[in-house]
């Protein structure tokens, strides 16, 4: 009996269902709602895995082209992709750490001055996944893994919004909403740089700026576009003979490269659809329970929360961060290490946010320089993160945003130190 129960609970999809089920039961939802909510979460997990399969196919064709053409390992940072891949191995541990991490977040908000409730569910999932992978790579398992993992995730969920709050007050002009996105360290550095360089610089919102780049807010379009360019360069460098004999089975190498890039975007689209279903019941339950238990809590929300406050800073930040990413890439090439290729998604969301934060403290100059530095940060951090991720470090994609890098590098190297 116990064995059957353990077998069931060791299936990550079912475990996610159990987390949703608990949330729904605590909220005393009706039976049909409980049933459909639980099923949808399980469905989400399975869909996510399907997206990962498509993505892997496309990535597996990418790295040989880069190797052949340039002679280095190219890595494309994408949180959704790496998490979807990692969940195939660390799904169970991630699900438990995510569920308990939310409990730890509520406890911290209830009993300390950090009143923040981290509502960006997909980032909780990504962080739980990365922490699980690093702990497992360092020999943790069982109860110890789950307890340490959920303490770390829960603490980050309360701490990161607190670090961002001083600048958030400047941006939004109020104190009852907080910022919850695991790129916070990059944004806070951007705000700090804004303060240093931005004396007397006017706000980005005083200039007239074309809004033509806004179509890039559409994630699938942005990914298909960047990956198209990156795959095309890789295919051209690798040459038609290599691609057509080794990879495409005779299909024209340019067409092959473009289709693979679209395949990558399709994979991410499916993963996002899965994440949407998976979180659909868990986040409202988390929010409802937190509001009940922590009456004066502050909801910490995803990064687009700040975009409407400074729409020009969003565009300037994205461009500046992307240029930072390109400069960083060339530095890595010249250092002959693993090369992090600039992805539009991390640079759009993180760069734009860094732009808004930099603008809040240092106007135009703050937005430009702050976001540029953010672009460098999210290019260099993944290089140092890869070695601590264990087997995951070899998957040609990795976690992009700043906090994953900082937390992962610190955690991985601390554990190594203790291990010795």
């Amino acid at each position: 009996m116990l064995k059957v129960l353990l077998d069931i609970l060791s299936v990550p999809a079912i475990l996610i269902g159990v987390v949703a089920l608990i949330g729904l039961l605590v909220q005393r939802k009706s039976t049909p709602e409980v049933l459909s909510g639980t099923l949808k979460s399980i469905l989400g997990f399975v869909i996510l895995g399907g997206g990962a399969t498509i993505l892997v196919g496309s990535l597996n064709n990418f790295s040989p082209m880069i190797q052949q053409g340039f002679g280095f390992q190219g890595v494309v940072p994408n949180n959704e992709a790496i998490t979807a891949l990692a969940l195939k191995t660390y799904g169970t541990q991630t699900a438990i750490i995510m569920g308990l991490g939310m409990v730890v977040n509520i406890l911290i908000a209830r009993f300390t001055k950090l009143k923040y409730i981290f509502l960006t569910g997909h980032h909780t999932l990504f962080m739980a996944c990365m922490v699980a992978a690093i702990l497992i790579a360092n020999g943790f398992d069982g109860v110890g893994l789950v307890i340490l993992g959920s303490l770390i995730v829960g603490l980050l969920m309360a701490l990161m919004p607190a670090i961002a709050q001083p600048t958030m007050r400047k941006i939004t002009g109020q104190d009852d909403v907080a910022f919850g996105h695991f790129g916070t360290i990059g944004y806070v550095i951007s705000a700090w740089i804004g303060k240093l360089v931005g004396k007397g610089s006017k706000s980005t919102e005083d200039i007239d700026f074309p809004k033509g780049l806004m179509f890039l807010r559409d994630t699938s379009v942005a990914i298909a576009l960047t990956m198209g360019i990156i795959y095309l360069i890789a295919a051209l460098a690798a040459g038609s003979t290599f691609v057509e004999t080794q990879l495409s089975g005779g299909q024209n190498y340019i067409i092959f490269a473009l289709l693979q890039a679209i395949g990558f975007a399709a994979g991410v689209y499916i993963i996002l659809a899965g994440v949407r279903l998976l979180l659909g019941e868990i986040v409202p339950a988390f929010k409802g329970i937190a509001e009940k238990l922590v009456p004066n809590s502050k909801p910490a929300l995803d990064c687009p929360i700040v975009f409407p406050y400074a729409q020009n800073a969003v565009i300037i930040g994205f461009l500046s961060s992307f240029i930072g990413g390109v400069v960083g890439m060339f530095v890595l090439i010249s250092l002959k290490t693993t090369v992090i290729l600039p992805g539009l998604i991390p640079h759009f969301f993180c760069g734009a946010t860094a732009g808004v934060f930099g603008n809040a403290t240092g106007g135009k100059r703050g937005a430009v320089v702050g976001a540029f530095v953010n672009g460098l940060i999210i290019t260099f951090l993944p290089v140092l993160l890869l070695p601590v991720l264990g087997e995951l470090g070899f998957s040609n994609t990795t976690f992009g945003d700043a906090d994953f890098g900082v937390v992962g590098i610190l955690l991985g190297n601390l554990l190594k130190l203790f291990g010795n």
Binding site: M214, T219, L301, P304, I305, P308
Partner: protein
């Protein structure tokens, strides 16, 4: 009748706004279908009312539904006023 809340990724901001929309509809005692989506999906998902913040709302025009543009995604009052007026216009209220 269906309300679709949109944002770039369709998992963070739109989800938060959706929860507020549901809360408001409950207060108004109106039972409508509310969902959230990314911009790509929104273009193929039929809805009567699309909601988004002003930085992306223009991309939802021409899809065949009313577009509610929010200046501030966390301003509960703004959302309520705008929702009320669009629902009155569509004769739901």
């Amino acid at each position: 009748m269906k309300i679709l809340v949109c944002c770039g990724n369709g998992i963070g901001s739109s989800f938060m706004i959706e929860m507020n929309v549901k809360k408001i509809l409950k207060e108004m005692k109106v039972d409508l279908d509310v969902d959230h989506a990314d911009l790509t999906s929104a273009k193929s998902a039929k809805a009567d009312i699309y909601i988004a913040t002003r930085d992306i709302a223009t991309q939802l025009e021409g899809l065949g539904g009313e577009v509610v543009t929010l200046n501030n995604m966390i301003d509960f009052k703004e959302l309520k006023t705008k929702l009320q007026s669009v629902l009155t216009q569509l004769k739901v209220l």
